[in-house]
Amino acid sequence: MAERETIIGEGIRVSGEIRGDEDLLVRGRVDGKIQITQKLTVEEGAIIEADVDVRALIVSGTVVGNIVASESVKLLASARVVGNLASPRVSMDAGAAFRGRVDMGDVEAARSAVVARPAVRPAQTSEQVEKAAPPRIAIPAKAAPMPTRVVPKLSAPAPAVKTTTTSTPAVPTMPRVSSASSANAPVWAKKKMIKRR
């Protein structure tokens, strides 16, 4: 397994997505996305126009795109890189050209921002959303508490509006409006409640 290596030769162009669990050596051209759990080597003359998510990255060629490397990034002297770079270890040789941001801090956060977001989109139940939300929204700290704070204040009609899209009755209290809460509700809301009865 360790000696296994995928090579994209000089005369080859890949447009699309490359995923896998082995080392990848690029001498040609890749447009799209690269997601490898091992090492990616971009040789001199190679051009990569893609978001890159790898364990380790060694660049002698050209990379345009955001880079996330969970272990290390090495930009050798002939490297040309444009894009943001997130990795705990980053080294650049004299002569390497780089334009973009470097982030040696929270690689996981950078990865979820660059890579995981589109992958998480397919159908989720409201329960899953509630479970998944706190860690993902942990970065913009203000965003997380907002919905939970707002919902109880607008006691009666607001939850109904919010849950119309989700078919599952995840909020059991929604259809029943207690008289106590309707007493506190604004006039326009009361009218609606009366109509409903």
Binding site: R4, I7, G9, I12, R13, V14, G16, E17, I18, G28
Partner: protein
């Protein structure tokens, strides 16, 4: 070992094109358009239209294959799709479903 190799754990979603020989051990979905030889090894899984000079298949291919020179289905090959090539070799044991066009 110098040429292009798509390793067994690799999945490519999109198009692979170029002018040098390519060997596929992994998965390719989309399209392979190469002006040189294309080898699809046993264990490989290609869901793509394949175009090459000589196309040699030992793995699984779903899609149309056009070989400018020769198409070869080896013993382990499983192919579903139309084949177009002036010369076609199908080894004993290979399975194939689709149309054949030898340009006659």
């Amino acid at each position: 070992m110098a040429n292009t190799v798509i390793g067994s754990s690799i999945v490519i979603d999109g198009e692979v094109s170029g002018d040098e020989p390519i060997t596929v051990l992994g998965q390719v979905k989309g399209k392979i358009a190469i002006s040189q030889n294309v080898t699809i090894e046993a264990g490989a899984h290609v869901e793509a239209d394949v175009e090459g000079q000589t196309v040699t298949i030992s793995g699984r291919v779903t899609g149309n294959v056009v070989a400018r020179e020769r198409l070869e289905l080896k013993t382990d090959a499983k192919m579903v799709g139309d084949a177009k090539a002036p010369r076609i070799v199908v080894a004993d044991g290979a399975s194939f479903k689709g149309n054949v066009d030898m340009d006659v």
